[in-house]
Structures are given as C-alpha cells and as structure tokens.
C-alpha cells in the first residue's frame, strides 16, 4: 500500500454570491493560523475582483505575466478549407470568406486546430490574460491573480495561482463567488470548503446553490454565517433543514464594517473578533485536518 503523507491541508473559502464577507473570513483565518504558529499560505483565486491584498499589502510582490496559447493563422498558407473550424468545439476559429478567422476570447488553448490544419497554416501565439503576484505579509505566504479587464478566461490564471508551491502546513483558498466554472476550479483539490453566507433570504438561496455544487464535487463542507444578528434563527434553521453543518457565526457589527472600509484586518482592529476567529479557526482546522487524514487513508 502506498502511504502518501499530505503536506498541506487546504481549506477553500467560498460563497454562493458576492459581498458575503468571504475575503474577510479568508484573510482573518489566514492571519489567525499564522499567528498561532502554523505556516500559512493564502491564495486569492477571485481573479476577477481580487481584494485580499487590500488587507495584506502588495509591496515588493513578485509578479509574473500569465498567458495562454492562441492560434495564429498564416493567411498566405490558408486556403479556407474549414478543417480548423470543424476541430474546434468552442467556435474560436472558423473559416469564412475563404480565410480562417480566430476569436481568441473563446479559445481554450487545446491546440486542436493546429493539428487539424492540413496546410500547416496555424502556429501557436500567446495572449496575455492577466498576472499573478506573490509575497509574504504578516507571516502569511500570499499569492493572488488579477485578470485583465474584459477577459473571460479565468481558469488558466486560477491554475497558476493555485500552483504556487509552498511548504505551508495550511493553505486557504479565497474562491470567486458563485457556482460557475472558475469556482469549481478554485475549490477543487481542497480538503474542506467553508461556505460563507448571510442570513438573508437571498443569501440562503445562493447558499443552497453553492451547497449543490460542492456536493457534486464531493468535498466536505460547512457553513459560516456572517453578519448574524443575535437570536436570529433564519440561517441556522435553514442549514438544519438542508443538512448543512454550521461551523460558526460572525456577528453583525458596525465596527467590523468600519475596519473593513479602512483596510484593517478584523482581528487587528477588534480584540473580540480576534477571539472569535481563534475559536472559529480552531474548529475549522480540526475538521479540515480530520478530512485530510481520511483522504490520505482512502
């Protein structure tokens, strides 16, 4: 039997919709773990709207351009036969009016058209989709990606951010909101998913969609209720009904919003939140590590 020791326990922080405080949770958890002496890596995979760096910083970060391959047609060799268009499942290349025409924003860089072209008219070029950044802040090894404005191909950039190697014991992945392809890409490979939700009817509706997605991928998960009002049972009852484990709740607090707007991590601004995140983090890590161990045994 092959015994593989998992180096890093990975926790993804996700949410069914934007604005639930997902990044706040991810950043404060990462800082809490790091201060508890764990080597922690934070990966902000919300590449369309990254914002963890607002709380951590950007100074001195290493940056790298992220490109994808795109087909480039040599018009002098192209006879408009259309083989490339037939090979492409994404309509990213099509022969029209006797010439092949490319639509780089639809291209998935599979290279199929290059092989299909009988006249060797297609070569591989590069298209920049964004950049990846890496640095160390407050003891947290931190990386994030930023997609170019108007760019739709986020999965290749997310892949680059997730590949940042580290000897961390713990990795926190800040996933994009929603339930689309980039979310699946971000969450996949994690040991545990913490779904952040708001105790509002809209928030809970989106939570349910997110739960369906995570169940489909098959990763253990639990829910963190953000902006919880004291005594409000809405979210807890909802989770109970839908068989969603609740990891904890973060109270609705005007001071939290103030700290957020000033770009200060909650646990630095408010001592009671520091305690709260220590408790939440402890619970989360215990569950996630148990899940990671189970995964290794399997």
């Amino acid at each position: 039997m092959k015994e593989e020791i998992r180096q890093t326990t990975t926790i993804a922080v996700a949410s069914g919709k934007g604005g639930t405080g997902k990044t706040t949770v991810a950043v404060n958890l990462a800082l809490t773990f790091s201060r508890a002496g764990k080597k922690t890596l934070l990966l902000d995979c919300d590449v369309e709207a990254p914002n963890a760096h607002i709380f951590l910083g950007t100074e001195g970060m290493e940056s790298s351009r992220v490109t994808v391959r795109v087909p480039v047609v040599d018009e002098s060799k192209c006879d408009g036969c259309g083989a490339c268009g037939k090979a492409c499942r994404f309509s990213a290349i099509v022969s029209l009016g006797g010439k092949a025409l490319t639509f780089p924003s639809l291209c998935h860089a599979c290279g199929g058209c290059v092989i299909a072209c009988p006249n060797k008219a297609i070569s591989e070029g590069e298209r920049e989709i964004g950049a990846a950044f890496r640095g160390m802040f407050h003891g947290v090894d931190f990386a994030y990606g930023k997609l170019r404005i108007g760019e739709a191909m986020s999965p290749p950039l997310i892949r680059v951010v997730k590949k940042f190697k580290s000897d961390a014991e713990l990795a926190i992945v800040d996933s994009p909101p929603g339930t689309s392809c980039p979310v699946v890409q971000s969450v996949r490979g994690s040991d545990y998913v913490a779904l952040v939700t708001e105790p509002t009817p809209f928030g809970l509706h989106d939570l349910k969609l997110a739960v369906e997605m995570i169940r489909e991928i098959g990763i253990p998960f639990g829910c963190i209720v953000n902006r919880a009002e004291a005594g409000d049972r809405l979210a807890h009852d909802f989770c109970l009904e839908n068989d969603i484990p609740v990891i904890g709740a973060i109270p609705d607090d005007r001071r939290a919003a103030e700290a957020y707007s000033r770009g200060i991590p909650l646990i630095d601004a408010l001592p009671d939140f520091k305690l709260l995140f220590e408790e939440l983090g402890g619970k989360l890590i215990e569950t996630a590590e148990a899940c990671a161990r189970k995964e290794v045994r399997r």
Partner: protein
C-alpha cells in the same frame, strides 16, 4: 443577389426571428429571381457560446451578400464582416415584408454590433 433573413419558420410568411446567433433558421432569398429556401439553424439554439459565429458561418456558406435580422452581437458582427456580408438590423414583421423593404432600400445597415454578446 442573395440575402438571408433570420426566420422563425420555413416560409416567407413566417415572422422574422429577432436574434441572429440563436435564430431558429434563415430564409435565403434570391432577390432577383424571388426564389427562397429555408436553412435550419437549430444546432445553434442550444450552443452556450459562439452561436453568433456559427450562424455567421452557416449563412456565409450559403453564399449570401447581406443579412437582415433584429439584432447582431459583436462576435457575429466580426465574423459576418470578415465574410464580407453586409448586416441590416431592426427587422420586424414577416420575412416577405423585409424582402420588400430590402429592395426598397429601407432597412438599416449597421457598422457596429448593436447588442452585447448573449443577445445575439
């Protein structure tokens, strides 16, 4: 000269389909002889992306020089332009009415996409 009109049905009395990429089909009409033929576009109805491009390919392959439709998105627009096909939008009513309008020169040619992607 042949033109294509996005159509919800397979006769000239069918209503115009306002969408281009996800049009049910096209009536391909020779405006000199009055001959018309229906061209199905059903495979693009369910395409998640690139429907406009495939529709453009579909009409380009039938050798038309112009397309009359309701709206046209950016990708379909570039594809049609590349194929040298003129684009007229804002069509309403039946296919036959639009053939007449086209002949009378009272349809609107566009030189830019008039809707965002997913509409097309």
């Amino acid at each position: 000269m042949k033109i294509a009109i996005t159509s919800k049905g397979n006769t000239v009395d069918s209503p115009v389909d306002p969408r281009f990429g996800r049009a049910a089909g096209f009536m391909v009409c020779d405006i000199d002889t009055g001959e018309c033929a229906y061209k199905d576009n059903a495979q693009n109805l369910s395409a998640s992306q690139g429907a406009g491009i495939q529709s453009a390919k579909n009409v380009a392959d039938s050798g038309v020089s112009a397309i009359v439709t309701g709206h046209c998105g950016p990708k379909a627009f570039s594809a049609l332009k590349a194929a040298g096909i003129k684009i007229y939008t804002g069509a309403e009513g039946t296919v036959a009415e639009n053939i007449e309008k086209f002949k009378a020169g009272s349809v609107k040619e566009i030189d830019n996409a008039d809707v965002e992607g997913h509409w097309s």
